[in-house]
């Protein structure tokens, strides 16, 4: 009886020591997973997920607070990538969170008053201008997040969908759906 107790306590103590030592040695600083999730997100910094940017959303996902289907600019493709990375199940988009066509902002120069409110709102500094000077969007850098539309006091910013031309044309999926006989 006593020997049994000794054996079990001995094993427990030994294992406890090993685990304690390795807990200190293998301490994980921060959460490198957040960077991995952030690398998958589309970086539009639009806030449609409900978080103020892509890094905060990545942090929330890593902490298990946010679902992976909250990012419309990433599309279904993005949800799949997150599901694969995290080993979670794929969830489709909720109501009203469907992705829109990619577009860039455009400032109507006849209406712009040079107030710089849109410049302060742009999360990637894609608007060039200064106080009382003409503002213009650098369309190559614009991510289409639409954060500049709300602050503009004269409503001169509109979103233009990116047209398909010969440089960004993609081959179509070669499957033709079969229609039911009439």
């Amino acid at each position: 009886m006593i020997s049994a107790l000794f054996v079990m306590i001995g094993i427990a103590l030994f294992l406890g020591a090993v685990l304690g030592f390795s807990a200190i040695k293998f301490k994980v600083q921060g959460n490198p997973l957040i960077d991995k999730i952030d690398a998958v997100l589309p970086q539009t910094q639009c806030g449609q997920c409900g978080y103020p940017g892509c890094k905060p959303y990545a942090t929330a996902i890593a902490a298990g607070e946010a679902e992976i289907n909250k990012c419309p600019p990433g599309g279904e493709e993005g949800i799949h990538k997150l599901a694969d990375l995290l080993g979670r199940e794929f969830i489709p988009f909720g109501e009203g969170a469907a992705p829109k066509a990619k577009s860039v902002a455009f400032i109507d120069e006849n209406t712009c008053i040079g107030c710089t409110l849109c410049i302060q709102a742009c999360p990637v500094d894609a608007i060039v201008g200064a106080a009382k000077q003409m503002h213009t969007i650098v369309s190559l850098e614009c991510t289409g997040c639409e954060l500049c539309i709300a602050p503009c006091p004269v409503d001169c910013i509109s979103m233009l969908p990116i047209q398909e031309d010969i440089t960004n044309w993609k081959w179509r999926y070669p499957v033709i759906p079969i229609q039911a006989a009439a």
Partner: protein, 191 residues
Amino acid sequence: MTEYLLIIVSTVFVNNIVMVKILGLCPFMGVSKKLEAAVGMGAATTFVLTLGSGASYLIQHYLLGSDLAYLTTLSFIVVIAGIVQFTEMAVQKTSPALYQVLGIYLPLITTNCAVLGIPLLNVQAKHNFMESLLFGFGGAIGFTMVMIMFAGIRERLEGADVPGIFKGSAIAMVTAGLMSLSFMGFSGLVK
């Protein structure tokens, strides 16, 4: 020397723990959707099994003896749990992505019937230390090999024209059954 080779061949092919002994099906079905996850799981299980077999032999042979034999299962589980915890910490440190992907299946190695089964089989077969170690290592290699094969097949099954009713787990089970059938071909290889 041939003894050890025979042990390896028999545990990897003839008496494969997953396909023939039908042990350790939980991670086999759960982690085999992606090849990288399967490889990671196989590596973790190999580490745990080899260490676990060795440690279990030492405890069973030196500490427990014959009068404390009733503590075998209990002490084995405790040792395995400790090793799995250690493995979990190591995986989290070295590969956080793998840690996230394996998820709950990493601590579930503790309750993996193969990981407990191999040491118990060692006791039953009265293997010495080297034989126990090799039995555990061979068993784990067999487990890893079958997991990787199955993960490869499942990745192809993802894109294949599987009838709707069979999609997902159903066709995976059928495939596992067919694989198990094919491993029957090894019976009689080792006399």
